[in-house]
Each structure stands twice: as structure tokens, then as C-alpha cells.
């Protein structure tokens, strides 16, 4: 299989404009004849569904939550980047492009990233027009802050609830289309498989989570906007329902999965409190703008943090990275925190935590200014831990947060299955091996509002379609397979809960395929995953019935897919014998412990093809070339 990225010819600045001109248009009168399925209603999905319906297409949107407004984009706190240069501090499309390619450690496709930076400015316009209440200055203009390692202030924010406000903007735009009858919304509906007819994605099979009924839905194109797979670790900052099922099923139907080992561990999360922990909570990394990270210089120092004088504190990021200090990128901040804790300097329960201290910022700016910036985050922290960060430093520890890997897509955001488009976190395209802060919201909305609505038109205008309906044999067959698998889960009737398997898988992945990885560890993990998967299918107890609201059954299906997907993640991590971004192979590091890339061998996208159960997946490579941003080793010293 040859991977054709379909990047347009010409200088990078003109590629998107030229491509928009060259793409075929669908006649306005014909648009209503095309039906598009959008799976997922987060920033990418809701933005796409609304925009496609505005254009005149028939759209159906599916989400597993009880309302499309609850998609996990809602939890993003810090902000959204855009190259508006409102602060006159030297920002530009080129700089945002450069920062994103470099921040992604040179493992993203240049043309996509440039387009993302270009479109970023339109996103802010769009959101303001929808009524997103971004923070403003007293003069009435939009406010910005510097965020997550950027040296310009290009981040737009709405208190600590930027994701919520952007999602509500997209949700409301989609709600308008639902009210007009242009979008048909299916909440509490989970996509359980993709249907491919004559090489084209022509629909999906869905389980109604209230009645348990399994039904088929046909379309001319399918868009997956189903988010990332951080929940493979069980404990992550993702919502409990986030899962890999839609993308994994599409993978098993022929879509290549790219760079699955590229995961992002976020440095500022609240540490786990005990065995009962069901998820981890992120504290926005905007806190690193004013908070200082430190550990005691003495191992296992039992003193209260306030009793430790400055001379006995190690502000280790400021010490190791004088230029960037506490604002080093996420992967670097996470690894250094882990090192400190591995070396015995950690604080809090089990020594798995470092301090994030606001003492100096409060002394400099005053309690009010800090409360204005971070008030809701401080409250959130206090609710969870019972401690007030304005008097006691926060304790933070890294946690899985975002997954850069995803289904492989070309420049048109189409996967290797014709008609199957993948947008937002679910695709692999723009963040390389590490995502910069405030870039996920940007990518989700760029894909949904401004890229897919054009590129999908080109596909629809050029493809040939045979008529299909849900009685088509291909749909009948996939439906039967879905029903059989569901019954199989119920029939195991063992003795262990689904969660207990998920926890075990999560621990395994965190240990062997988390913040730092080794060849030997990954090889062992692959065997352990296979064994765990076998035990799952022998010992799991689901309970209840299929024709009912059955949350245990929902979880079982998702965990069964994670148990297959985890193996591919480890295979990918094993084959990539270099360190880059969030993927740190202990065998490949510089003498001072920084990630060492191997551009000679690994400057490519690893796209994996499913070959069948118990058969090794096939690796396909999309070479990455860097013509606009010079390849260099990242340095934040």
C-alpha cells in the first residue's frame, strides 16, 4: 500500500489556497442529496456537523453522551492558540507554524501544520461571532496570555473554561441546525463498527445505549471525530467514556493507524490519592506561568513545604532550563518530574508528586490578581485535596492527557478507506510527537469548521456512489458481527469486573509504555497484554442484558478494544528506536538525559495496517521532509 499524502504543489504559503481552488465543488442544489455521518460531537465533530449542515448537506451526528454538549472537549481549561499577533510581540503565522513543528519534535507533516497556523486566525473570529465570551481587556479588546512554553502571547482564553465555551459555541451552532432539521442528532448512541462497501465507507452500525437496539445507518461519507485513546492507561485526564472503539474498528476495517505510541503525559495533574482513584484531574498548565515548581533538596524531607527555606528547595526546571524555566514543553516537564520522584525527592503520598508553588507570585502580584487568574483552578484543587493552594503549594504529578497518534489521514483528512474522514484528536496529523499547550482546541476547530467542509466536498464531487440501504448484505453482515460480539461479552459470565481488567491494563501500559519506554519492557508488555486479553475473554463478568441500558456492557466493549489496541501501541513504541517528543526510549538519550531523535532512521510517520487476529500488523511509512523548518535538536536550555 502506498501512502499518498496528497500535499499540494507549490510554496507552503500558497498550498491551501491553491488546493481550495483546485478542489471540485458540489453544486449547491446537489448538496442536499448527500448524507454525511459525523461520529462524535466534540469541538471537531460539532463544528463539522454544524458547518456541513450550513452548506446544505444532510448530516447525522452520533454521540455516546446524553447530550452533544458533554463531549470531553468541554474539559479543556487553558486556551486556544491563534497567530493574531494582537499583542504586537512578533507573532505570525510562520512563528506558530515553526513552534508547532518544532514542539512536535519534527514528526508532523509540515503542510498540515502550516495550514493549521493559517486557519488559527479565522477560528477566533468565528468563535467571537458565536458569542464565546473570551477574556477581554478593559478597553474591550481580546486578552491574550503566553501558554505552555510559547514565548509570545497568542493564547485566547475564557477563564479556566476555554474548552467549555468553545464547545458550547460549536454545540449551539449545531443545535441551530438540529432545530432547522438539517442535522439529525443521535445522543446515547455508540458506533460499534464501520461498514465498507466496494472500498468506500458507507455507514456505521450503532448501539442505542438506552434500548440496546443495534441499527445500521448509511451515508455517502463518514467522519470520525471520536477523540483520543488516553484511557488505555485507565487513569488519565480523559472523561470516563473516552475510548478507542470507533477508530479501532475503522482500523480493523482497513484504515491505517499512525504513530499510536505518541502519547502526551501532562505535567500538571493532581496526584492519585489511593486505590479507589477513578480518573486524574488536570490542573491547567497556565498555572506554570506564575507557579514555581520545586522539590526539597533533601530526600524524603518530611517538613511541611512552608517550613522549607528557599536555600533547601530545588527549583529544578529553573536550574536545568534557564531560558524556559517552568515553561518547558509538556514532555520535558513531565519527565523531569518523574526523574525527581524516581530519585526519591517526590512529595505527598508515595512520593509521587512535586510542588507547584504560588507563594512568590502572590507576594509579587497580590492575592486578588492570582485569584482572578486561577481562582476556579484553586477551588477545584481544594475540593479534591482539601488543601488551599494560596497557602500550601499544590502537589502535581504527570498523567496521560492527549494522544497525538490516530488514524492516518492525507492532506484532505481522509483515511486510507475512501470516504472515511478523521478529524480532531482522532487523527494523527498536526502535533507530531508532542502537542503544544492550547493547540488541541485549535486543531479540532480548524478541522471541523474550516478544512473538512471543503475537502469532503471534493470527495463527494469526484466519487461514484452505488445506492445502498440498511438491508444491503454488507450492513446485514456487520450488524450480525456486532450483535455476536455483544452476546459473546455477556456470555463469558466469569467473575471479574470489567474495571478490574481495565485497571490492570492501565497499570501495565503506564509502567511499560508510559513516560519512558525500553525495548525489553515493551516486549514483555506485549506478551502480558495478550495474556490479559485471553483472561478477559474467559473471566470477565458483565451482567444484565444486551437489550437494556447496560453500562457494564458498554465498558466491556471499550475495554475489549483497548486490550487489542494496547498491543499495537507497544509494537509501535518498540519499533521506534529513538526518542522524540512524548515517546522516550531510554536507549536513545543524550548524556544529560534529554530525548535523542534519530532523523536518519525515523523521520517518518509509522502507519500500521491490520492484518488479522494474531497476525503481526504491517508497517507502512510516510517519509517526512522538512523544507521550511530546519531540522534541529530541540533545546530549551
Amino acid at each position: 500500500m502506498e501512502l499518498r499524502a496528497k500535499v499540494p504543489e507549490g510554496p507552503i504559503q500558497q498550498q491551501w489556497d491553491r488546493h481550495r481552488f483546485e478542489m471540485k465543488l458540489v453544486n449547491p442544489a446537489n448538496k442536499r442529496k448527500y448524507h454525511i455521518i459525523v461520529v462524535g460531537s466534540g469541538l471537531a465533530g460539532a463544528a463539522a456537523a454544524a458547518s456541513l449542515a450550513e452548506l446544505g448537506y444532510q448530516v447525522s451526528c452520533f454521540c455516546f453522551q446524553d447530550s452533544p454538549r458533554r463531549a470531553h472537549s468541554i474539559a479543556a481549561q487553558g486556551g486556544i492558540n491563534a497567530a493574531k499577533n494582537y499583542q504586537n510581540d512578533g507573532d505570525s503565522v510562520w512563528r506558530l507554524f515553526y513552534d508547532t513543528v518544532k514542539g512536535g519534535d519534527f514528526r508532523a507533516r509540515e503542510a498540515n501544520v502550516y495550514r493549521l497556523a493559517q486557519i488559527s486566525v479565522n477560528i477566533i473570529d468565528q468563535c467571537v461571532a458565536q458569542g464565546v465570551p473570551f477574556a477581554r481587556e478593559y478597553g474591550g479588546l481580546l486578552a491574550n496570555r503566553s501558554f505552555g512554553g510559547a514565548q509570545v502571547s497568542r493564547t485566547f482564553y475564557a477563564r479556566g473554561q476555554t474548552g467549555q465555551q468553545l464547545l458550547l459555541g460549536a454545540y449551539q451552532a449545531m443545535a441551530r441546525q438540529i432545530g432547522l432539521g438539517a442535522v439529525r442528532m443521535y445522543p446515547r448512541a455508540e458506533m460499534l463498527d464501520l461498514v465498507v462497501v466496494d472500498g468506500q465507507a458507507r455507514g456505521i452500525v450503532v448501539r442505542d445505549l438506552v434500548t440496546g437496539k443495534v441499527t445500521s445507518h448509511t451515508a455517502h461519507a463518514v467522519v470520525l471525530a471520536t477523540g483520543g485513546y488516553s484511557n488505555v492507561y485507565f487513569l488519565s485526564t480523559n472523561a470516563k467514556g473516552c475510548n478507542v472503539t470507533a477508530t479501532w474498528r475503522a482500523h480493523k476495517r482497513g484504515a491505517l493507524f499512525a504513530n499510536p505510541c505518541f502519547t502526551q503525559i501532562h505535567p500538571t495533574c493532581i496526584p492519585a490519592a489511593g486505590e479507589h482513584q477513578s480518573k486524574l484531574t488536570l490542573m491547567s498548565e497556565s498555572l506554570r506561568n506564575d507557579g514555581r515548581i520545586w522539590v526539597p533538596k533533601r530526600k524524603a524531607d518530611a517538613r511541611r513545604p512552608g517550613d522549607i527555606p528557599d536555600a533547601e528547595r530545588d527549583y529544578y526546571l529553573e536550574r536545568q532550563y534557564p531560558a524556559f524555566g517552568n515553561l518547558v514543553p509538556r514532555d520535558v516537564a513531565s519527565r523531569r518530574a518523574k526523574d525527581m520522584c524516581d530519585d526519591g525527592f517526590g512529595v505527598g503520598p508515595g512520593g509521587r508528586g512535586v510542588y507547584l508553588d504560588f507563594r512568590d507570585a502572590i507576594a509579587r502580584l497580590g492575592q486578588t490578581a492570582i485569584a482572578e487568574r486561577y481562582g476556579n483552578l484553586f477551588e477545584m484543587y481544594e475540593r479534591i485535596t482539601g488543601e488551599d493552594p494560596s497557602t500550601v503549594p499544590m502537589r502535581i504529578y504527570p498523567a496521560p492527557h492527549y494522544t497525538m497518534g490516530g488514524l492516518w489521514v492525507d492532506y484532505n483528512l481522509m483515511s486510507t478507506i475512501a470516504g472515511l474522514h478523521v478529524i480532531g484528536e482522532a487523527n494523527f496529523s498536526d502535533h507530531g510527537a508532542n502537542r503544544l499547550g492550547a493547540s488541541a482546541l485549535m486543531q479540532g476547530l480548524a478541522d471541523g469548521y474550516f478544512i473538512l467542509p471543503y475537502t469532503i466536498g471534493d470527495y463527494l464531487a469526484t466519487a461514484q456512489f452505488e445506492p445502498v440501504d440498511p438491508t444491503h448484505p454488507a450492513f446485514r453482515q456487520v450488524e450480525a458481527e456486532v450483535a455476536k460480539r455483544t452476546q459473546r461479552l455477556l456470555d463469558v459470565n466469569g467473575s471479574r469486573s470489567v474495571d478490574s481488567f481495565h485497571r490492570e491494563l492501565g497499570r501495565l501500559m503506564w509502567e511499560q509504555c508510559g513516560m519512558s519506554r525500553t525495548g525489553a519492557g515493551l516486549e514483555a508488555a506485549i506478551g502480558q497484554i495478550q495474556a490479559l486479553r485471553n483472561r478477559f475473554w474467559r473471566e470477565v463478568f458483565v451482567g444484565g442484558r444486551g437489550e437494556d441500558l447496560n453500562q457494564s456492557l458498554e465498558k466491556a466493549g471499550r475495554v475489549a478494544d483497548f486490550l487489542e489496541f494496547a498491543e499495537l501501541m507497544c509494537e509501535d513504541a518498540l519499533h521506534r528506536e529513538e526518542s522524540c517528543g512524548g515517546h522516550f526510549r531510554e536507549e536513545s538519550q543524550t548524556p544529560d538525559g534529554e530525548a535523542k531523535r534519530d532523523d536518519h532512521r525515523f523521520s517518518y510517520v509509522a502507519a500500521w495496517e491490520y492484518k488479522g487476529e494474531s497476525v503481526a500488523p504491517a508497517l507502512h511509512k510516510e517519509p517526512l521532509t522538512f523544507e521550511s523548518v530546519h531540522l534541529s535538536q530541540r533545546s530549551y536550555k
Binding site: 461571532a129 477513578s278 480518573k279
Partner: protein
Amino acid sequence: MRLTLHVWRQAGPAERGGFARYEIPDASPDMSFLELLDVLNEQLIAAREEPIAFDHDCREGICGSCGVVINGRPHGPRKATTACQLHLRHFQDGEQIWVEPWRAKAFPVLKDLVVDRGAFDRIVQAGGFITARTGSAPEANAIPIAKRDADRAMDAAACIGCGACVAACPNASAMLFVAAKVSHLGALPQGQPERYRRVVRMVDVMDAEGFGACTNHGECMAACPKEISIDFIAQLNRDLLKATLTPPREGRAWSGAA
């Protein structure tokens, strides 16, 4: 800590429900309330009983999925705290805890603690938006918005749509939810063209969905995990009055295309 839970069990929308009693012998004070339900469900699964169905997702107080009435109070005893962020350190060892679903005609119970809040979505679909077709937006800084107005819009926009306001209201009114959206969009210049049409349409659908009327009890504000103020209900009433009492230039009789 040892806790006794009395949890509402109901097999389906048409079935009769009732409280079931469960003992949790060893809960940790650092657990969240939903983690307590997780632990209870693990106990039930170990005994091969059907676990309790409850809505939840982000578990960080922002998605609005979770929501149960705990000891008679939506989201439990803590101010400005969703059930997922409520921790057991706020309960006493040996306490009896009663857990019920939201109770409102417009939120039918689907199973156990899960209710159907689709009515909220339908209210938003009726008018809870600003019409801004993708691609048609002017430059973002073209219209300055006073910080005071932007802040007020954000105060209202913080609503997570969980439905605690409805569950807390003796009339099961959705006024706080609707008022928050009307006030958020009405506080911004972008929201002005549809301002009066919006309030009329949203209130019409709210009534049609079977929510009760507001009689100023203020229970909604006390229960709201995001502390949305009932000042916004006053704002809604002002807008509604204007929309319906003035000549039909914009209000109920307005019938332009959406």
C-alpha cells in the same frame, strides 16, 4: 469509614422504583462520591448483582453529566460542587446517605439514577444560539466589548446544563438554565439581533417540555454547582416582557427565517 447507602433502583422508565440498602464497610475519605458508587458497583458485581446505573463522564465538574440527589440535595451538601467533585471527607463515619435521581416531569427516569435531560437540548435548539454561519465572521477585534459585559456573559455561560436547578426547584422549573443562556448571549453585541426572538422561543419550548413556572424560591441558585445567580432570571423576565409587550416587531409574532 463505614457508610450506609439507600439508592434508588428502577429497572426502566415504566417500572416501579424503590430504595435499596447497601453497606460500604471501608470507604476512604479521599474518595469522590462517584468513586463510592464505583466501589459499591464492584461489590454488586462480585455478588453477581446488577450494578447501579448513573450518568458520569469527565469527573471534574465541567461536563454536567453527573447529578444525583444526595440526602435531599442535588449534588449533595457542598456549595458549588458537583457530585463527581464531592468527597467523602464531608460525610460522617457511620452516616446514612440517600441517593435519588433528579425528579421532574420533564426529566423522566431511564434507569436507576439516570434521567433523560433531552428537554434541555430541545430548548437550546429553539433559540439558544447566535446565528453565525461558518466563514461569515468579522475580524474578532472589530467589535470591542466592555470587560464588564464580557465578564457578565461568562458568569452566565458557566452553566454546565446538569439540571440540578430543575431538581432543586419545588416547581421543577428550568428558568435558571434558560436564563443563563439568554443572559449569556444577550449580554454580547453579537447576540442582539436575535435577542428577543431567542427568549420567546426558548421560554415557549421550556413550557411545552413540561417544566414548571418560577415562583422565586431561589433553590436553583443554592443548588447550582456553578453558582449561576438568579439575577439572570430577572434579566430573562425583563427581556421576555419587552419581547411580548412591545409591538410585534421582534417578539412572538416575528416569523423570519432562522
